[in-house]
Every structure is written in structure tokens, then in C-alpha cells.
Amino acid sequence: MTAPMKGDNQAHRDEDCSGKVPGGAVVRQGGDGDGKRRTMGPASAGQVRGAARAARVSGVRAPGGVRPVWHAAHLPLLALAVVLVMAVAAGIGSVHIPPAEVAGILLRRLPFVSRGAEPTWWPASHEVILLQVRLPRILLSAMVGASLSVAGAALQGLLRNPLADPYVAGVSAGAGLGATIAMVAGVPLSVLGVGSVPILAFITAVATMVVVYSIARVSGRLPTDTFLLAGVVVGSFLWAVISFLLVVSGDTLREAMMWLMGSLSGKGYAHVKMAFPYTAAGIAALVVLARDFNLISLGDEEARYLGLDPEEFKRVAILAASLVTAAAVSVGGIIGFVGLVVPHTMRLILGPDHKVLMPACVFAGAGFLVAADTLARVVVAPGEIPVGVITALAGGPFFLYLLRRRKTSGAL
């Protein structure tokens, strides 16, 4: 089933590939240089046509295929998994609600299923807990997870650096500064029915992006490495300011720490409503721009040759990414690892094509954070762990495992 062996290393690689090719039709003649492909006899000409035909038909099952055949088919599966995770999460907590009840309560809320005053088999308290306490929090964590993941994927593609995420870019520190100022200064928690802390966090997050952007800009261009450096430097500076403010303030320390480590505790529909427009608009923009992200991840020069103005695109993409990040940070605090691990994992599983990657990150990010937040509220019940601790505890080792597994190929 494997191609003629050219040595241990070669044999190993071919085995790797043939496992994923139906029928074992391995056509690769060796991946170690041009030298072994000189001959184009009748057999290999046929193989060329075969490969071309396969590429034409569906883009899958081609000879030598290393990428999984099912990458696009994964999106509906991921969406289904997210719905399941949310349903299970809704049942878990200090009061257990069986899955059938969860389904019943939710279905009754849908306008076309509603039966009015028909008696129900579940206690009224369950309905209140589910709809007023758990559901808004689940929706919020789904939104925050999706936002952070998509923003991470966008920044990684944009900067062609798999280490980039909203936190490296400095947005999160910016949002954190706003929130800290609000808490330390004792700004009233609600102005005109909207939380004042998130609004301030949002403003400082966007302001930080503007600062990072203008520092990194060199004579009308935005070089990637300067942008990353500027983000790290500005971020560190803001963290220092935040720490200073926290130390001198004293009594609000615990609240601020909880927020800065990332927590969705005590959030309701007001927060969902506040974050939703920004989240939806930003995510929609980033998903629509998926093809452009493919081009920019080849580098500015090549993107330009293919017809994409790199500077103009970066401005739009950074604005959209900071919008969703700020929305997420302003309601959820600084939840680490989601923006780094989810896009990375999705890229390893589904490949680097942003047309698949962006929507996959929406679903996977949502599911991941809903699960993490559920753990955060049940592990030490009735107390709570900041969800950022859970994401780091779960995400860190998983990330290391993936890195280790792919270390040999060097590809991302």
C-alpha cells in the first residue's frame, strides 16, 4: 500500500499518508526533492490526469492527500455539538434539570410550539432557573467564546503568526484598564440601565488598538512584527497601570481580580443584549472576509499581487477583530487561552483555509467556553472559579499535546 521505499524516513511518511487515501492509491513518488520526479512516463501522466480529475471533482480524495477529507463537512457537526453542549450545560448546576425538561421548557418558549396555559410536568422553579439564570449565562459564554476565537483566528492570519491573539495584541489589557478605572473610581454600576463598567472597557479597548496601530505604523505601512511588538509593549504597560490601581485601591481587589481573570458570574440578559450587536457585526464581517484572510496570510507582497490592498485590509480586519474582542472582554473579563487555543486547534484539525476556519472557530469557541463556564460554576459549588482559570487549565496541556503531535511536520 505504500510507495516504493526510499529509506526509513520516506517509508514512514508514506505510511502516514496512505492511511488516509481510500484504496491506497499512493501516487507520491517521494517528497525529498525534484530529483525523483524526472520521469513522466505513461503511468505517471495518467496519475497526473487522475489527480487533476480528483481536484476538479471535489478537492478531496486526491492522491497523496494529507489533509482530512471531511473538513467542510465538519461545520454542521460542530454546530450540532454546540447545541448539545449548551443543552447539557443548561441542566447542570446546584439544581439538576433532566434533559427532557430542558427540551420541554425551551420548546414551549418557541412561538409556534407554545400551547399557552397547558399544564407542564416540571416545577415552575426549574423554568425560572433555566430561563432567568442559566440561559443568559450560557448565551453570553457562547458569544464570548465565539468572539475571542474568531478574533484570535483573524489576528493569527493577519499577522502570519500563530502566537498572536487578542491578548498579545494588547486589546484585552486596554479593556481591563477601563474596567479597573471604573471599579476603583467607584463609578455607579449602571447608567441608563446599561452597565457602565463594560462601556468604559469597550472605549479603552478600542483606544488601545488605535494607539498600538499608530505606534506600529511606519510611513503608511503596518509591518507585522512591529505590530506584535507594539501590542506586547503597550499591553505590558497597561498591565502595570492596572496592577498599580488594584494595589492602591485595596478593598475592591477581589472583585477586580475575579473580573480580570475572566468570569461570567452574575451576568444576565442585559449583558447579552449589550454585547450582541457588536459581536454579531464583528463576527459577520470576519467570516465574510475569510477569503481575504487566506490571501493576507501569504504575506503583504503576495496579497497585493493577487489584488488585495494589504494596508486597507489590515485596517478593516483589525477594527473588526478589536470590536468583537472588546465586546467579549467588556462582559466576560479577561479570559485567556480561548483566542489562542481554539483557532490553533481548528487549524490543526481542519486545515488553514479561513473559509472553513472562521465559522469553525465561531462554533468551537462557543462550545468550548460554554463547557468551561459550566465547570467554573459547579466545580467548587456554591463558590465559583474564574472561567479564565478553567480555560487555561484545560487549554494549556491540550495545546502542548497538539504542538507535540505536529512538531515533526513543522506546519501549522
Binding site: 517528497g31 490526469r49 487533476a52 494529507v66 489533509r67 487566506n294 501569504l298 499581487y305 493577487l306 488585495l308
Partner: protein, 269 residues
């Protein structure tokens, strides 16, 4: 027959900061022509190509595509007509060869439209022409430099350009693939009326294939004309600072240079 186009460079000056990379260079290429650009390292060849593709704004002079300034056309409009094969393509992400080649269709696609059958056919044709069709599903990150170079030529062909700009397209290729790529672009220019500008390092390869050759030195035009006019021992000594013997190719009579050991500039004779 698809419409032929011409690309004209009118006495451009290009600067990186305070360093002048190119000064007073003019060049024209029309559909059906293959023009070679030669010159030592750092003589401004790549800068010239970038300016021709509209990726660099000249501080003086201008570049026009059928009379229209490329800097005023917008990147997308230029990319539908002009394709560039850059010298070193690198991405850390493991796109498949097929994905990379299909990106050549981007300037032709609408914002919300997916690739049509016609786009996929263009990509497959380009991959077959450059012998990379059987690598279609391989990640670009796992290919050799030579294979990547051919993939980038395939992507440029998938753009279905009228003008093709190549930056050392054969630098990583073995003799067989060098001849294949040069035969391919020569065929495209003759049969499909493509205008081709190729930056080359190999003087003899340029002499074999090009209709006209432009020699650059320190950002200035050192010589320009047919291979017979440009590839002479005198020009090569002036531009590269090496001694050579130039004689006719035994088969087709094109000039071929053979280097003579010993640099003229250092006085070693």
C-alpha cells in the same frame, strides 16, 4: 484571441527611504513579447518588477497598463491583468497546493461568490501546465523550493493575466524544470499573446529565450536591446565585472557567454 495588452515604464525613480533603488529606468513590454531583466544582485531588478505590478509607488515617472496608470487602477483591477511570480513565497500555514493555486482566482471573484466550475478549470489547467497537478492536495509547507516555485507559477497562470511578471522563476529549478518553465512562458507569449517580463540570473537562459534583454546596474539602465546586442563580452564586463567569451549557440546561433576565471575589478588576470 484574447486582447493583448502592453505595460510601459516611463523613466521611473524608486526610493526606499533615502536610498535610490532605481533611477531613470524605462521599459516596455507588449503582448506576445518575452523581455528579460538581467543585472547583478542589488541592481534594482525586483524593485522594477514591484513598481511594474503597482505594488510600489515610484517617486518619479510612471507605469502604465494600456495607457492607464497602475497606481490609479486599484490592486484588484491590476491583478486581473497582471500576475506576478515572486521570488520567495513563504507562508507558515499549510494550505494545499490546490488552495494556493485557486487563490489566483481571487481578483476575478465577486465578494460573496464562490469559485465556479470555470475558476476550478482555470486552476487545474494551470497546475497541469506547470506539472504540479499531482501535488494538488499536498501542503505547500512540505514541498521543496523548486516545487513551490512551480506552484507560484501555476497560481499566476490561474489569474489568466495578460501580462506576466516573473522574479527569478528558475532560481531553484533543475535544468529540466528550468527548460519546462521557460518553454511554457515562451509558448504562452507566442500562442496566447501574453506579455512576459522575467528577471533572470542566468545570462545564457535569458539569451536563449528572450526577445529583448534589459541590463540593470546600480539602479540604472546599463544596456537594452536584442540578445545579440546586449550579450557581449563588453557589456558583461561592464555590468558584472567579470571576463567572458561570447560565442554563438551551436544549434540556434543565439549568443552564449562562457566565464573566464579572474575578476577584472580586482586586477586578477
Amino acid at each position: 484571441m484574447v486582447k493583448r495588452m502592453r505595460l510601459d515604464v516611463f523613466s521611473i525613480r524608486c526610493m526606499y527611504g533615502i536610498i535610490t533603488a532605481l533611477d531613470g529606468v524605462s521599459l516596455s513590454v507588449a503582448g506576445g513579447e518575452l523581455v528579460g531583466v538581467l543585472g547583478p544582485n542589488g541592481s534594482g531588478k525586483t524593485t522594477l518588477l514591484r513598481a511594474m505590478a503597482g505594488a510600489l509607488r515610484p517617486t518619479a515617472g510612471r507605469v502604465t497598463l494600456d495607457g492607464q496608470d497602475v497606481r490609479k487602477m486599484g490592486a484588484r483591477a491590476v491583478a486581473r491583468r497582471v500576475a506576478v511570480v515572486p521570488q520567495n513565497g513563504y507562508t507558515p500555514f499549510s494550505f494545499s497546493v490546490r488552495d494556493i493555486v485557486l487563490m489566483g482566482r481571487w481578483p476575478h471573484l465577486g465578494r460573496f461568490a464562490g469559485e465556479t466550475q470555470r475558476d476550478i478549470e482555470a486552476a487545474v489547467r494551470a497546475m497541469e501546465a506547470t506539472q504540479v497537478a499531482r501535488l494538488a492536495m499536498r501542503p505547500i509547507t512540505e514541498l521543496s523550493y523548486g516545487e513551490r516555485q512551480r506552484v507560484m507559477v501555476a497560481r499566476a497562470l490561474a489569474q489568466e493575466p495578460r501580462i506576466l511578471l516573473l522574479d527569478e522563476p528558475t532560481s531553484h529549478l533543475d535544468p529540466r524544470h528550468q527548460v519546462e518553465i521557460m518553454d511554457l512562458v515562451l509558448g504562452l507569449s507566442r500562442q496566447e499573446g501574453l506579455g512576459v517580463v522575467a528577471v533572470l540570473h542566468d545570462v545564457n537562459l535569458a539569451a536563449q529565450y528572450c526577445d529583448r534583454i534589459v541590463m540593470l546596474r546600480d539602479g540604472h539602465l546599463a544596456a537594452s536591446g536584442t540578445p545579440g546586442e546586449v550579450i557581449t563580452a563588453q557589456v558583461i564586463e561592464e555590468v558584472y565585472g567579470v571576463r567572458s567569451c561570447v560565442g554563438p549557440h551551436p544549434v540556434n546561433g543565439r549568443p552564449q557567454a562562457v566565464l573566464v576565471p579572474g575578476l577584472t575589478l580586482t586586477g586578477v588576470r
